[in-house]
Amino acid sequence: MNVHVEARDVVKRFGPTTALAGAKIAITEGETHALVGRNGAGKSTLVSILTGLQRPDEGEVLFAGQPAPALADRDAWRRRVACVYQKSTIISALTVAENLFLNRQSEKNVINWRALAGRARELLDTYEVDVDAQALAGDLSVEQRQLVEIARALSFGARFIILDEPTARLDGPAIERLFTRMRSLREQGVTMMYISHHLDEVYEICQSVTVFRDARHVTTRPVADLPHDELVAAMTGEATAVYEARSRTPGESVVLSGENLGLAGRYSGIDISVRSGEVVGLAGSASSGKVGLAETLVGLRRADTGTVTVNGTKVTPGDVPAAMKAGLGFVPEDRHHEGFVPLLSVGENATFPIARKLGRYGLISPSRRRATAERMIDSLDIKTEGPDQPVADLSGGNAQKVVFARALVDDPTVLVVINPTAGVDVKAKQALLGAVEDAVERGAGAVLVSDELDDLRICDRVLVMFHGRVVKDVPRGWTDHELVAVMEGMEE
């Protein structure tokens, strides 16, 4: 079998960080090849090298045995490889249609906008993406944007496609649709490299897998030869048990409640109450309104009707600081948007909500900030040079952990986390879920919004939303099948 793409002895350094230290990968023609590794292992860095966005400090890239084109020759790269990057490459001010056909809006010189919209609609239909081709990309939800990126990458007709964590922001049905596409592309002989922290997806869609650890290649094997626990061991360098949700009995006091909440176009008539020592899940398929509801609870959105009470305090609608003062911590949906300030350090990002506790008279003691940050880095296992590194330089998953650290740093009595494990590796996911459970064991109440059923297992009960309403309150002990059926509106 021919090796379609190969990277040899690649070294890439960013200042003092070595992102890749002699890493290699070889992908056979026609296979779907998984690349896995912990956050910060160097996966995305390899992607940028394989797609010609960055030059390796050492080593080489070969396509079908031929050396890769010059970095400046973007067209040659694009003929060889298409990619869904981990970081969004959507341009908010342009329409979906133009984003899909960026820099190839027309064959001829003059763009025919009507025809372009038609082509875009066709493409979106092919991939069953329910998005208006004429809408501004900036108005889309995170998930819709991700679908647009996927549709764009698949539409190039390249013989090699890289998908860097495409499913981190997708729900079940969308993931299924993506896999269907990927299978049919593979049947057409397209080679793919697939990156994900959902290892079951690796088993479902890939033929072979390469594991990176600490910037180096660890192993490459057919997935069939590599059982799940061995794979995890290869990634983490140690044997790791599957996460076991803990059981507990919730207390009596209600720490978070929403009454008669409604927001036009998103949800209506919601009553929700979370007790101390309880984790309440919010589930639902796309556009069910679960994120909108969670954002209302934390104050990111102002509901049209209803009130939110945090820890006994009626919070002014749309007032995040007030909610936080009342004891709330939260993880927003989009870490790039609301999660962190990229230029500021890990330490500062993680400690903003407790700034007032880091010193008196409005002062911040850098040493206390450092100490707190180091504690968070330790407990959440954030891979960073230290508290002073800007978050912009972290890998995706590690940035997510910083956002998580921010939510936990104030020992919140109420925790609202939205897709908290998006892009986080297996081991770190356990740490994050564990952190939620720890907080709850200390007496907090938590709301967990997630598209991932595995995350929802730590919930004491799951509220399932459908078309803006809570349709069912599912207690612990559900099976995947049951829950999905409710989410899809198949069962009332």
Partner: protein, 329 residues
């Protein structure tokens, strides 16, 4: 859900966002007509257009540069310096020239070339050295103006080759040539940024440079092109202005850049890049031109004129904000 069912009105709104200043223009036309009978005459409106022709080319240039996510303050200095140096290369020493004595027919191409060279140098510093565009072009604003003031020793150039006076003073089909030229260039700009791949790539670059690069757009090359085109347009503006004024004073173009930005931003072009249209910028120029004209006609006291002028800009800004419906940046 609701948003999904109604995509059509949205699209239409987006298209009309270029035209949020049209109501302002209509109001100004009505107000002007009420305040002064001369205002709505063909002669006066022609004057307004002619007076704005040169500065509008700067707005065109700046709009493109802003859309591509960059900045050029030095355009205003090019307006004086490019034609002045070109003239000095051609006229005799007695008329303030260098004594090189190139043929007078070359003066327009020379001026355009000098403008292009200034743009290219800006691009070089900003793109190659990754320096801040704002501050590079601020320094260049000072330097380029110095290259007018230095060789001319502060004197106005009065004796100009005829060719450089022609465009700014000729009439074509009964209208000043400058209006035709500006009109044609704006049409080209609207078309180019609306319908050409190259033009669209400015939006991509200004919107997300990394994404543009990943999409295969030759970002650096396009940006060089934009700066060079900007400098050339500024030189052309200088040529038109020279023809209109009949001489090149040391202050030609000085102080224009603020009005240029005001026109572009009122017209919906974002200072953050990636947003706005050439048509919008054009409406911004018209608003500014009409306001100035009306203030001159009604003869507001010179001392208070700036206050009224600034207030009208603020009001136009608010109207365009309300009609556009989006926060500005």
């Amino acid at each position: 859900m609701t948003t999904l069912t109604a995509p059509a009105p949205r699209v239409r709104l987006a298209r009309f966002r270029d035209l949020t200043l049209v109501p302002v223009i209509v109001i100004l036309l009505i107000v002007g007509a009420v305040l002064d009978p001369t205002f709505l005459t063909a002669g006066n409106l022609t004057n307004v257009l002619q007076q704005q022709a040169a500065i509008s080319l700067l707005v065109l240039a700046e709009a493109m540069i802003l859309i591509a996510g960059k900045f050029d303050l030095s355009l205003e200095s090019t307006v004086g310096t490019a034609p002045a140096i070109a003239v000095m290369l051609c006229v005799p020493v007695a008329a303030g020239g260098f004594g090189i004595g190139l043929p007078g027919a070359l003066v327009i191409p020379l001026a355009l070339l000098i403008g292009a060279a200034i743009g290219a140098f800006n691009g070089f510093l900003i793109i190659r050295f990754q320096l801040s565009a704002f501050i590079v072009t601020l320094a260049m604003l000072i330097i380029v103006h110095g290259f007018l003031q230095g060789p001319s020793e502060g004197k106005t150039l009065f004796q100009l080759p005829d060719s450089i006076l022609y465009l700014g003073s000729a009439l074509w089909l009964g209208l000043p040539a400058a209006i035709w030229i500006a009109g044609a260039l704006f049409a080209a700009g609207i078309f180019g940024l609306g319908y050409l791949r190259l033009g669209r790539s400015l939006y991509a670059i200004g919107g997300n440079m990394d994404a543009a690069r990943a999409a295969g757009i030759r970002v650096d090359r396009v940006l060089y092109g934009v700066f060079i085109l900007g400098g050339t347009l500024a030189a052309l503006a200088g040529i038109l202005e020279t023809g209109r004024l009949g001489a090149i004073g040391n202050n030609q173009g000085v102080g224009w850049i603020f009005m240029v930005f005001a026109a572009a931003v009122i017209g919906g072009v974002s200072m953050d890049g990636g947003k706005g249209t050439i048509l919008g910028a054009l409406t911004g120029v018209l608003v500014i031109g009409l306001v100035q004209n009306i203030l001159t006609l009604i003869g507001v006291s010179g001392f208070w004129q700036p206050v009224i002028y600034g207030a009208i800009i603020l009001i136009a800004l608010m109207i365009s904000r309300i009609a556009g419906g989006k926060a500005q940046d």
